[in-house]
Symmetry: C2
Subunit: 200 residues, 2 copies
């Protein structure tokens, strides 16, 4: 192992601090935050997993921050009150920002129902870095799919404040991408997203 930037004399060592640009350059990519928002069961994680794989096979360095998974670790102290949901999104946005600073393309899957919180996340990022992807699946379809059985519980009154049932989802006004998921497939939607990334 060689250290090209080292001089023979310790005192002439030049301290180089790595920044976002050097970390991204090593990965030959532009760091981005792909922020998937939409109802529970809309398909956020499924589509994001396909995007992740498409990017991986083209040599891109990625990571998925999934709201459900984070609740088992970083956000395990948070519940579903309004304050806790805001904090959940705040922390996730900061972690996404740190990962972007590390040069990664970060895929965030989070219902993130309120415009204000998504705005907060966007405002943390550089211009062009935040790509809001609205995974638009009608409520009745999400409720019919009900992959985690949560709609059933929400309609039975066992879960309060459930987005779309007891609580509001505020659709994005001008997302970078608006995906209508009905009549298409996750892989086709994933390819749309990758195509968008190549153009921007």
């Amino acid at each position: 192992m060689e250290y090209p930037v080292r001089r023979s004399d310790n005192t002439s060592w030049q301290q180089h601090i790595q920044d976002r640009e050097t970390r991204a350059a090593l990965k030959s990519q532009h760091p981005r935050i792909l922020w998937f928002t939409g109802l529970s069961g809309a398909g956020k994680t499924t589509i994001a997993s396909h995007v992740d794989m498409l990017l991986h096979v083209s040599g891109k360095h990625t990571f998925i921050l999934d709201g459900d998974n984070l609740r088992h670790g970083l956000n395990q102290d948070l519940g579903f009150s309004v304050a806790d949901r805001v904090e959940n999104i705040r922390r996730t946005a900061h972690v996404a920002k740190l990962m972007s600073d590390a040069g990664l393309i970060v895929l965030v899957c989070l219902i993130s129902p309120y415009r204000l919180d998504r705005r907060m996340a966007r405002d943390l990022m550089e211009p062009g870095e935040f790509i809001e992807i609205f995974v638009d699946t009608p409520l009745d379809i999400c409720a019919k799919r009900d992959p985690k059985g949560l709609y059933k519980k929400a309609y039975a009154g066992e879960i309060s404040n459930f987005t779309g049932v007891g609580d509001t989802y505020e659709p994005p006004v001008s997302p970078e991408l608006h995906l209508n998921t009905v009549g298409t497939t996750p892989i086709d939607l994933a390819e749309q997203i990758v195509a968008h990334l190549e153009l921007t």
Copy 2:
């Protein structure tokens, strides 16, 4: 751009989920957490910056999580009470774990004065993943350096619970690396760390 894993027929798309191994393999490295613990002013960030640069020039994908910086973002809601310091370390450990899952080598610079908290961080990680680095600089030298003017304030009673003055620092019992910083240079210490990484 080609998608080698895609089949011509959408329905035969095989969903491959990326994991820690695939993300690390793309980077040709073993993810690690280098956890720098020691008094304020001990040299944690300085040494870590040198390690970061040495790893970078050898093509490694790294990131520095610095306790001071995190307090401006993810941990900006936390103070310096015992509970808040514990939470500060808990969150930092979880972010380090996520970054390691992303395949990165993560350098954490955090006083992290209590054994229990460092243990908690270690227990989050895979065997061999957590490398505790005790940056051992005597209190009187740290207080004399006082790069941020904090020791002066602590001795004047303007800061309470300051590690080493009003609060305890519990030295690691069996850290992976114990660095005595007196009579050496940050770059020499950084090279020791890199040599250790190559052996393990």
